[in-house]
């Protein structure tokens, strides 16, 4: 172990193991998680060792190999897909595995299919007699589902649907596992019966032969080419020309086309939103917070090993984490990782509660859940993406090397801002909910508990007298609440004004969208701070846990005020002098948390294999590892043809050609 990192662990103010258990939700879960991670990492098939040197083809092949092997492994270990281990498996594989869309295929059939359809397709899918994908997005159409252009025309004579891609922008584009692997897909298309359009519906379409895997007649399918990340996934395109599927292939739990062409709708379609809500909530913890934790671990461990310049003349070069500017880059991101971990627990709880209600056919909580999942998905993905980028940049040149692990974390998390709903659109959905609740609250009508604060208007000013007052959670939570209310109420008022002055509703909405999105973010930021403060309250006081978490909570809150000073100063709630106090307290906290920085990332308990980083390993042997890994690069192990073909002639004959 590098002495520079060993010394960091001597001085921890709290017990790392206890904090790990807090994060996992109990020691028993920590034990189980470690067992799963261990089992996966010991298996050479799942190794990610040479990942950074592999081509797209090799990455794809490895992902398929792992997915196939995982089936075997799961049976061997007695893990099931709905068991508690599944989450940990996914975490250990770092998502680098194929057939993720197959699971969505299965899920969509079980949620949208009739009992008969479930009985037919689910066994085939779980035994991998077919491989599914989920084809919704088109080349020209994304988040706005009603705009999809693929058509499915019902042909009464043959009792079939005829699927077509009428023009190039209607081609299915992006679905994972579809480029090379999938044999079937759930395709979304506009349903036409007797020339009348009934809107978008899901159809099961076979796209490749089950015998030799060649594409079916009328189907054109392939890989969409290289992306910023996800090299292992064969995101695909799909073009359909008069492809016929039997009437029974339309997923018909909620809507059905009867043999005579009669269209029947049953049940509530609201439940469809529920799938998206579920996906967004699990996405926050799996795809966003864990990458941020990894990035923080790598950047902070590296920052205590890397030495640069001298703080004082005559001393040895200082650890870069001792520089205030480096602390100011990394420690707020660390605080954010904890803040978002706790908010994701909170969302999960809210979701579980909502789910129980829904099973009792009570749909009241749906709008709130939907607004929550949209807003937080947007806010957290955006925040974490820039946080990972800050970590990358904070590692200077070595962060830019793929071997640091940071570039792949970054390109991957960047995608999370786009998929499962583009962030701006999601924020506006939350804003719609908030303005509605605001109007209702002001009219004295009941609103969901998370937004009751909108009813309480307290103009006033911040009561803080000195910088220590800003370490009082009530003081800063209040400030966030005030700011959120102000942004929501002023935007709602402006919207109202515009409409009353005769502007059409949708134009008025578009003119307010920049502020609406800001208001939605402010709301989520407030809830995150509030939840963090409340979580800290409930933590056990022993082993120094509560104390260090309180520091992180303070840092997260004050960092937010410091970096968004304008919105807090705007109506004078916080004065210029108070803002100086915020800054002073904020900078003081950096120096305090600095001492525990390494133990705080150790508590995330991420194994070296899962980090897959030359900079971030537990022992801090950064330079040795970097040198060792670089030597493995194919550019060094294989003879480069460039010398013989181009350099040699250049070096030897250039004179004669001049």
């Amino acid at each position: 172990v590098n002495p520079d990192i060993a010394s960091e662990r001597q001085t921890a103010s709290f017990c790392v193991e206890t904090l790990t258990a807090v994060l996992d939700g109990g020691t028993e879960r920590t034990r189980r998680r470690r067992a799963v991670v261990e089992a996966i990492e010991c298996d050479p098939v799942f190794s990610r060792e040479n990942q950074y040197f592999q081509s797209q083809n090799e990455r794809y092949e490895a992902a398929v190999r792992k997915a196939v092997h995982l089936q075997k492994k799961m049976r061997e270990m007695g893990w099931t897909e709905d068991g508690p281990e599944y989450k940990y498996i996914y975490r250990a594989l770092a998502g680098d595995v194929a057939f993720l869309l197959h699971h969505i295929f299965v899920r969509s059939i079980s949620m949208l299919g009739s009992d008969k359809q479930i009985a037919k397709w689910i066994p085939l899918a779980t035994q991998y007699q077919l491989i599914g994908s989920y084809a919704q997005t088109e080349l020209g159409h994304g988040t706005y589902l009603q705009g999809l252009e693929t058509t499915a025309v019902f042909d009464i004579t043959t009792q079939e649907f005829i699927l077509n891609t009428p023009k190039i922008s209607a081609m299915k584009w992006w679905p994972g596992d579809m480029g090379r692997s999938a044999t079937h897909t759930v395709a979304f298309a506009q349903l036409y019966i007797h020339g009348q359009c009934y809107g978008v519906h899901p159809f099961i379409v076979q796209i490749r032969s089950l015998r030799d895997h060649s594409v079916c007649p009328g189907v054109t399918a392939g890989d969409i080419g290289p992306k910023m990340s996800f090299e292992h996934a064969d995101n695909g395109y799909l073009l359909l020309q008069n492809v016929r599927v039997p009437r029974e292939n339309m997923l018909s739990k909620f809507c059905e086309v009867q043999p005579d062409g009669t269209y029947v709708r049953r049940g509530s379609q609201q439940i469809n939103y529920f799938t998206m809500t579920a996906v967004r909530i699990s996405l926050i913890s799996d795809e966003v917070i864990i990458p941020l934790m990894k990035a923080c671990t790598i950047a902070i461990r590296y920052s205590v090993v890397r030495r640069q310049s001298k703080l004082k003349p005559g001393e040895e070069e200082a650890k870069i984490l001792d520089y205030q500017t480096q602390q100011e880059k990394l420690l707020p991101q660390l605080a954010a990782a904890y803040a978002f971990h706790f908010i994701s627990d909170y969302l999960q709880e809210l979701f579980d509660k909502g789910y129980r209600e829904i099973q009792r056919k009570n749909f009241d909580t749906l709008p709130e859940l939907h607004a929550f999942s949209s807003g937080f998905k947007a806010m957290v993905t955006q925040y974490c993406t820039s946080a990972v980028e800050i970590c990358l940049r904070a590692c200077g040149g070595h962060g830019y090397s793929l071997l640091s692990g940071l570039p792949s974390l970054y390109t991957k998390i960047l995608a999370s801002c786009i998929y499962e709903g583009e962030n701006t659109i999601l924020l506006l959905q939350t804003a719609r909910f908030l303005t509605k609740c605001f109007t209702a609250a002001r009219a004295g009508q009941p609103v969901p508990p998370s937004v009751t604060y909108l009813a309480a208007v307290k103009p006033g000013t911040c009561p803080a007298q000195n910088k220590l007052d800003f370490l009082n959670p009530d003081v800063y939570t209040e400030a966030y609440q005030h700011m959120a209310v102000r942004l929501i109420s002023s935007t709602a008022a402006k919207l109202q004004d515009l409409i009353q002055s005769g502007v059409q509703k949708h134009n008025a909405w578009n003119q307010c969208t920049v502020q609406l999105a800001q208001a939605a973010k402010a709301h989520c930021h407030y809830i995150t701070v509030k939840n963090f403060a409340e979580t800290v309250e409930k933590l056990e006081t022993k082993a120094g846990i509560q104390k260090i978490m309180k520091h992180l909570c303070d840092l997260f809150a004050l960092h937010g005020i410091f970096s968004n000073a304008g919105v807090f100063l705007h109506d004078g709630y916080i004065s210029g002098a108070q803002m100086d106090m915020v800054t002073a307290s904020y900078l003081d906290l950096l120096a305090i948390i600095r001492k525990d920085a390494v133990p705080l990332v150790d508590a995330f308990d991420l194994t070296d294999k899962s980090l897959n980083s030359a900079l971030g390993s537990y022992d801090g042997q950064v330079y040795q590892r970097l040198y060792e890994w670089a030597q493995k690069s194919p550019t060094n192990t294989q003879m480069s043809p460039a010398y013989e073909m181009y350099l040699k002639p250049l070096l030897h004959n250039s004179l004669s050609k001049l």
């Binding site: 950074y52 083809n57 081609m171 910023m228 395109y237 001298k310 999105a517 040198y627």
Partner: protein, 615 residues
């Protein structure tokens, strides 16, 4: 430009589908060709070489960058006439391909910390070069891994048992002829990076490697045969090269951001999504206020940085005449200013490029939109600027006047006597007048510089150590530098407006300038409010005005990116095509993916089929 694009020798397959090895090979092929062509057309001016280069490689770095950009210039500026005779012509003719090996694995921006040693042995009249630790391995130099046969190595010079600090040495690393590494030299490629695939960034480890005394670059400092060390006259001269490189980086930031804006704005004009009004067809996403709010400020920024880049280059050329005549008086300010501006523009441009990418949704994520993300240690750059600002502030406080871009600090003393002066100014900020906004930015910079300098002083009064105080104030200092750079950018943009004679062009650029300045205010309202430069009501007006400007600029948006005049080939983006035929071309592009080479991928037979059979 046309010279390159129309030359069939420079055509190639889409780089996105190639492996790193293939990309390197392509780059080498083109570089070799390029050198031949440069000679053929007789292009020798550095600026022209730079443009020629950027068209051959489409703004991508290439293995010969360091040879042309650092090795040759360093020889010119730091070699003695005898050394130039020995090395320059062979290097010019590319018998010698060189690189510049400064950065070590454990040491970057702080070059005095480098560990490589060069120990003089008077018995043989040689220097013995060593990489004593893992951290001292040279790491990152471009072209070092596979291409170069020589390197200029920066090492700590030891002679007569004493360390004389960093000096530059010409070190042969590969055998002429066979290109095999020389005994005592370990050299190779550092592996894949986040971009820069075609560049063989390398490592270099030296074990008791001997070079003749004459291989030390001795125009300034010298080691005599008996080992006596002769000191150079001034050590500031080396900064000249750095200033030049930074000036180029500022220009590059503007260039990359313009490219990203072109792609994102053209795409947004073609992409349709959702509906604004019920029942109407899906509108262009560029009609959404949120989309305009993402892209137009970046467009304004691209223009602003373009003018800044031109300004720095001009200043550099003006000053470099003085420098070669030994007048170094303007160098400190230029050095300080370019450090900060380099950091400020590359920060903003990188963030902007990501914004553009996100604004293109999923398709922006596809590799058909190129990215450029490189930055050095920008915080260190910002702190260099801050050091200069604090120094200027201290001068002013002690009654001396300062000149140049920091002359606004002169006013601070006057304001202190009349504190109402600042308050009085509040009412006079006119949010539609760029000149007035320059004043507002100036006031903000002045306040933040003053605040940082005062906090620094307060820390100094508390503690004994200057260094601790500096470290504990560095967050404030960086903010002050940023504010200063922001002011400089707004000022230069505004100054540019009066130079434009065409009324229509001036009008649209004035709108962009206002948008740039007002957007900057709306993103940093805290600073302006806290300093009392603007009132709450004015901030609300600023936000309102920003949104009005979005609508004003909207009709000209595509024309404004067309003015950047990027050729489709240079853009290299399916989304950014001039003709807007995006979807057809994405499909064509994807069909070329290696995964599509066979209809049934081999992994079906290898993995899928056996599994299906077994389960």
């Amino acid at each position: 430009e046309a010279l390159v694009i129309n030359d069939p020798d420079f055509q190639h397959e889409d780089l996105n589908f190639l492996s790193r090895s293939q990309r390197y090979e392509q780059a080498i092929r083109k570089s070799s060709l390029m050198v031949m062509k440069l000679r053929e057309y007789g292009i020798a001016d550095p600026d022209e070489i730079y443009w020629f280069k950027s068209f051959v490689h489409r703004g991508r770095p290439e293995p010969l960058d360091l040879h042309l950009g650092m090795f040759l210039p360093t020889l010119l500026t730091q070699a003695t006439p005898e050394q130039q005779d020995r090395f320059f012509m062979p290097a010019w003719n590319l018998e010698i391909i060189g690189t510049y090996a400064q950065t070590e694995m454990g040491h970057g921006t702080h070059i005095r910390g480098l560990e490589t040693t060069a120990t003089y042995d008077p018995a043989t009249q040689e220097f013995i070069l060593n990489s004593p630790t893992v951290t001292s391995i040279k790491w990152w130099p471009g072209g070092l891994g596979k291409t170069s046969n020589h390197a200029i190595v920066l090492a700590q010079l030891y002679t007569q048992g004493q360390c004389k600090g960093l000096h530059a040495f010409i070190v042969p690393i590969r055998q002429m002829g066979t290109h095999e590494p020389l005994p005592g030299i370990t050299v190779g490629d550092i592996g894949p990076k986040f971009g820069y695939d075609e560049m063989d960034n390398g490592y270099l480890k030296m074990d008791n490697f001997r070079i003749p005394r004459e291989n030390m670059l001795m125009k300034y400092a010298q080691v005599e045969p008996d080992g006596t060390y002769v000191k150079p006259l001034s050590d500031k001269l080396t900064y000249g090269t750095m200033v030049f490189i930074r000036a180029l980086i500022v220009g590059d930031s503007a260039h990359s951001l313009s490219r990203a804006c072109t792609i994102a704005i053209r795409y947004s004009a073609v992409r349709h999504q959702s509906e604004l009004k019920p029942g109407e067809p899906e509108p262009q996403i560029l009609d959404y206020q949120t989309q305009q709010y993402k892209l137009f400020p970046l467009l304004a920024t691209a223009y602003a940085f373009h003018f800044v880049g031109a300004y720095i280059k001009g200043t550099y050329h003006r000053i470099s005449g003085d420098i070669s005549e030994g007048d170094l008086s303007e160098l400190p300010e230029l050095h300080a200013l370019t450090a900060g501006l380099k950091a400020f523009t590359s920060w903003t441009a990188n963030a902007g490029i990501e914004e553009c990418r996100m604004a293109c949704g999923g398709h922006g994520y596809s590799r058909c939109t190129p990215s450029c993300t490189y930055e050095g240690e920008n915080t260190v750059m910002m702190l260099q600027t801050a050091r200069f600002l604090v120094k200027s502030y201290t001068q002013v406080s002690s009654g001396q006047q300062v000149t140049g871009m920091v002359s606004y600090l002169n006013d601070l003393c006057r304001q202190r006597i009349q504190p109402q002066h600042v308050a009085a100014r509040t009412a006079t900020v006119r949010i539609n007048d760029p000149a007035s906004l320059v004043e507002a930015y100036k006031a903000r910079a002045a306040r933040l510089v003053e605040a940082a300098a005062k906090n620094l002083q307060a820390e100094l009064d508390h503690r004994k150590s200057k260094e601790d105080a500096w470290n504990r104030t560095s967050v404030d200092l960086v903010r002050a530098s940023e504010a200063h750079c922001h002011y400089v950018v707004v000022k230069l943009f505004t100054a540019k407006l009066s130079e434009i004679s065409n009324a229509a062009v001036r009008a649209v650029l004035t709108e962009l300038c206002l948008l740039y300045a007002l957007y900057g205010i709306s993103k940093n309202t805290g600073d302006f409010l806290q300093a009392g430069i603007l009132t709450d009501a004015q901030v609300t007006q600023v936000n309102q005005r920003v949104k009005e400007l979005l609508a004003t600029i909207r009709p000209n948006a595509v024309a404004l990116v067309d003015s950047f005049d990027f050729n489709d080939v240079t853009l290299g983006s399916v989304l950014g095509r001039y003709d807007g035929n995006i979807y057809e071309n994405m499909f064509e592009w994807a069909k070329k993916s290696p995964l599509n080479k066979t209809e049934v991928h081999e992994s079906f037979h290898k993995h899928l089929k056996p599994m299906q059979a077994k389960l």
